[in-house]
């Protein structure tokens, strides 16, 4: 059980943030590779530049916020689909991850984080294991619950949450009634970047070495989890708790196939089937709300 929860937690942190962004009407294809960029930054600053690991983690956060703000700024400035803009940042980051890792280490990985100053406190916060009812749990599970609770609260209980639904539902209409739609979008992109930073830091500290291709290809899985959790691809509808459950279903399916000794290839079949089923169900929700008598 601890194992599938672990898969679900790392994925869930991202799925929840990606769900907020999707509700706000956008996609972030750079979210997966961002977890790699931040993990590598932690590694390179701590090991190659020999800084305290907390300094490295802070540097990674600054970088993540910068990339998130850049994505959001470009999307709101140009009005181009976020799909295309973040595909651009995705490819750029992928290249940077490889190029810089090679430049610093001469290989395609950063290793030796365990020896960096401050590692033990970082491990305690990001990568320790706690026992609950005799079961070992990775602390990432706790982070996942925290992120989910915070996201759900923001979405349903704050004015910013109201703006997220509105911006994704109809951006022009919300701007006309005074919603700061542009700011909302930029903050949402910075939020996915921050979630990627959290996951990247957890990954780096947990594994103590980081591959240059970390996180690549995960971005679509986050979107799938959010959609399974009830987010509309068209924006304006969805929930944080739903996305967390989507990640949980995902983790259970993945581990279930391992337990059953099935070929892992089947996993993608189930994933695709779940995605289609979710999209069809979500469409009914939209019909209910929009095809009412005029």
């Amino acid at each position: 059980m601890a194992n599938w929860l672990d898969v679900a937690s790392i994925l869930g942190i991202m799925a929840v943030a990606v769900a907020l962004l999707m509700i706000g009407g956008h996609f972030d294809l750079s979210a997966g590779v961002m977890t790699g960029t931040t993990a590598l930054t932690v590694g390179i600053v701590a090991v190659e530049l020999q800084q305290n690991i907390w300094v490295a983690i802070a540097a990674a956060l600054v970088l993540a916020l910068g990339v998130g703000a850049f994505n959001g700024w470009l999307v709101t400035r140009t009005g181009l689909p976020s799909f295309i803009i973040t595909l651009g940042t995705f490819l750029m980051l992928q290249g940077l991850n490889l190029g810089l890792t090679k430049a610093f280490t001469g290989t395609v990985q950063v290793r030796g984080l365990a020896d960096a100053p401050g590692y033990h406190s970082a491990e305690l916060v990001l990568a320790s294991t706690v026992e609950v009812f005799g079961q070992p749990f990775r602390i990432a599970v706790l982070w996942w619950l925290l992120v989910t609770a915070l996201a759900a609260w923001v979405l349903l209980r704050t004015r910013f949450g109201n703006w997220v639904f509105a911006t994704g539902g109809d951006e022009v209409a919300s701007r006309n009634v005074g919603v700061p739609a542009r700011r909302t979008t930029i903050v949402l992109f910075m939020t996915t970047a921050t979630a990627a930073w959290l996951v990247g830091s957890i990954t780096a500290v947990r594994l103590t070495s980081v591959q240059a291709n970390t996180g690549t290809g995960q971005e679509l899985i986050y979107i799938v989890a959010a959609v399974i959790g009830g987010c509309l691809l068209t924006g304006g509808y969805g929930s944080a708790v739903g996305a967390a459950l989507g990640a949980l279903i995902f983790g259970m399916t993945q581990q279930g196939i391992v337990y059953l000794n099935w070929d892992a290839d089947w996993f993608y079949f189930f994933l695709g089937a779940m995605l289609l089923l979710a999209v069809l169900t979500n469409r009914l929700v939209r019909r209910y709300a929009e095809a009412a008598p005029r």
Partner: protein, 272 residues
């Protein structure tokens, strides 16, 4: 046309909103040119015109979505420029757009307070005051005689007339002094249109200045105090109620001679 006509107004009172020679170009397209009229408290100014006449463009100028290319707006007699819809809102100019500016998938109470959410709590715990929002929404709708079963239902499940009514109630609640309505009755049946016209009269009686955009003179004439006629971006006249009859409005709207020519054209050949 004389400003003294229409409803009795206090001597020397300035209009809430005045337009002088307003023009708006989109690139080489002249969407509006030389438009002047006024909006007074407790009165309804109707803007009439066919599709593409520039009605929506005119209200977007009034509500801060577009800046006029030419001319000047006056608020309480003082020149104003709105750089954003928020600025017009803050000046008390509320607009109910043709597409309503409501989010179909969001609940009525969320829509009602969208962009002006009440909050409680401090610092990082500041949050949307949902209880107040739901409460006020229910109360304000009831006060306008709008019977909504459940403020939690998505706006998309309301009928067109109900949506217009919610949007009007919202504008009134947020202290609008000028209420702009873009074709609120055009998509509605006779009964629902009558309901919306009644809300317009109610807003007027509460002392708001109303700008009512329509292409239907039969809707405009009963509630209007002042009529601005637009044709292809130009003014065909700005009349007080006493200066024009419903028939004249209808004639001018249809482009009088155009209609008689049409009647001729459609008449049966051989008929006298």
């Amino acid at each position: 046309m004389s400003a003294a006509a229409g409803r009795p107004a206090a001597p020397g009172d300035t209009p809430l909103l005045e337009l002088r020679d307003i023009g708006k170009d989109f690139g080489s397209v002249i969407a509006l040119d030389g438009i002047s009229t006024s909006v007074r408290a407790g009165q309804v100014t109707c803007v009439l015109g066919d599709n593409g006449a520039g009605k929506s463009t005119l209200i977007k100028v009034l509500s801060g979505v577009h800046r006029p290319t030419r001319g000047q707006l006056f608020l309480d007699g003082a020149p104003v420029d709105f750089d954003a819809p928020r600025e017009a809102l803050d000046a008390g100019i509320a607009t109910v757009y043709q597409d309503l500016a409501m989010i179909p998938l969001m609940s009525i109470w969320r829509n009602f307070f969208l962009g002006s959410e009440p909050t409680t709590g401090w610092g990082p715990f500041r949050r949307f005051d949902r209880a107040t929002a739901k409460d006020v929404t229910r109360r304000e709708l009831a006060a306008m005689g709008i019977d909504i079963r459940d403020p939690d239902q998505p706006v998309g499940t309301l009928s067109g007339g109900e949506r217009q009514s919610v949007a009007i109630a919202r504008a009134v609640h947020f202290g609008a002094r000028v209420l702009i309505l873009d074709e609120p009755t055009s998509a509605l049946g006779v009964k629902q249109a009558a309901v919306v016209l009644r809300y317009i009269a109610q807003a007027r009686d509460q002392g708001l200045g109303v700008v009512f955009i329509t292409h239907n003179p039969h809707h405009a004439h009963p509630v209007g105090d002042r009529f601005l006629l637009l044709n292809r971006g130009r003014s065909m006249g700005d009349f007080a109620k006493a200066e024009v009859t419903r028939e004249q409005l209808t004639d001018m709207m249809a482009g009088g001679d155009e209609l008689s020519r049409l009647a001729e054209e459609l008449g049966r050949p051989g008929a006298p």
